[in-house]
Symmetry: C2
Subunit: 192 residues, 2 copies
């Protein structure tokens, strides 16, 4: 039991990992713990629109754990390609340490979910990536492009990073986003 308690208290640190988007109507930045919760809810709601049939419970579990490596590395916008290899190594180190606190087989189960997400090969992982990539877009569309403008992210960069995974995992969601991103361009929601 003490191992489980140590694990869950270590997860406290994900509440301190801030992202670049602000929750609608709030001044602060979003943290990766509440983001993970919202992704699970979006995945559940969107499951019938997944590109291939998915085991939605595995998608939910995957989304709940996929950001835990940020406890050591912090969150980095998907547009930052520099240092990617080092960040991924840091995240792997973090989850190895953190999931390793749990009694087996629980620790290995979480590790395997985390790896499945990273490898992005199964229908579940591809759907999870679509959801993860689309959520900040939905927030920015509702928020006058707040994190795009604050970080100088152009329309082209958003489309280049969002379209492939969203189209692969949830084509209907891309069909929804595409005209709205174009419209947002006209409204000046993007950075230079």
């Amino acid at each position: 039991m003490q191992q489980i308690v140590d694990f869950i208290l270590e997860l406290e640190k994900l509440k301190a990992v801030t992202r670049k988007v602000r929750p609608l109507g709030l001044d602060r930045y979003e943290n990766s713990a509440e983001h993970s919760w919202q992704l699970a809810m979006l995945a559940f709601s969107l499951a019938p629109q997944a590109g291939s049939p998915v085991d939605i419970d595995r998608v939910i579990r995957m989304l709940l754990v996929h950001d835990i490596g940020e406890i050591d590395t912090g969150d980095t916008m998907v547009f930052v390609e520099e240092g990617l290899k080092e960040r991924k190594a840091g995240e792997l180190g973090a989850v190895t340490r953190i999931f390793g606190r749990l009694p087996e087989p629980r620790g290995e189960e979480l590790m395997s979910l985390w790896r499945e997400f990273e490898e992005a090969q199964t229908p579940e992982a591809r759907f999870a990536h679509a959801v993860d990539r689309a959520m900040p877009v939905l927030l920015n569309l509702a928020n006058q492009g707040q994190s795009w403008r604050e970080n100088g992210i152009s329309y082209e960069r958003v489309v280049a990073r969002v379209r492939p995974p969203v189209q692969a995992g949830c084509p209907a969601l891309w069909d929804y986003l595409a005209p709205r991103l174009e419209e947002a361009r006209g409204k000046g929601f993007f950075g230079a």
Copy 2:
């Protein structure tokens, strides 16, 4: 698709619902969205210790939705019995409105999970309640009783509200908490 987007943006409001516990090491109060994420992780980790065998994926789904009614009512400490009936009616109104935004059968599925948690009759709902009730205790034990001291909650009130649901849903967790709560009393972690 627009219904799903409206739903997920409505859920933004749970990130603004603050609780009485502060995340470890942070000055701000915890919000109900990150709390829901952490409960799902605790339930997953603790599942082998549940009082009866449970469908852990249903427990996780239940914990992800159980606080959504607070979008209209706010969070209230479990020790506050006054106004309980009105709060519960307010939460029911909120989830009826919010889940009702989703296309069927998704909306009804969430409603049914929310109701199952509220009724606390199934092994899954009882285990979910144990996890929900224990998590702030674990934080307070690690936090010098911050929310108990700030709100004048005595040892006796904590035991009275925590012991029955935790013992019913996860007896091993109560066995872990009981001596630590006594020890915390000796250290002055409780309010008057």
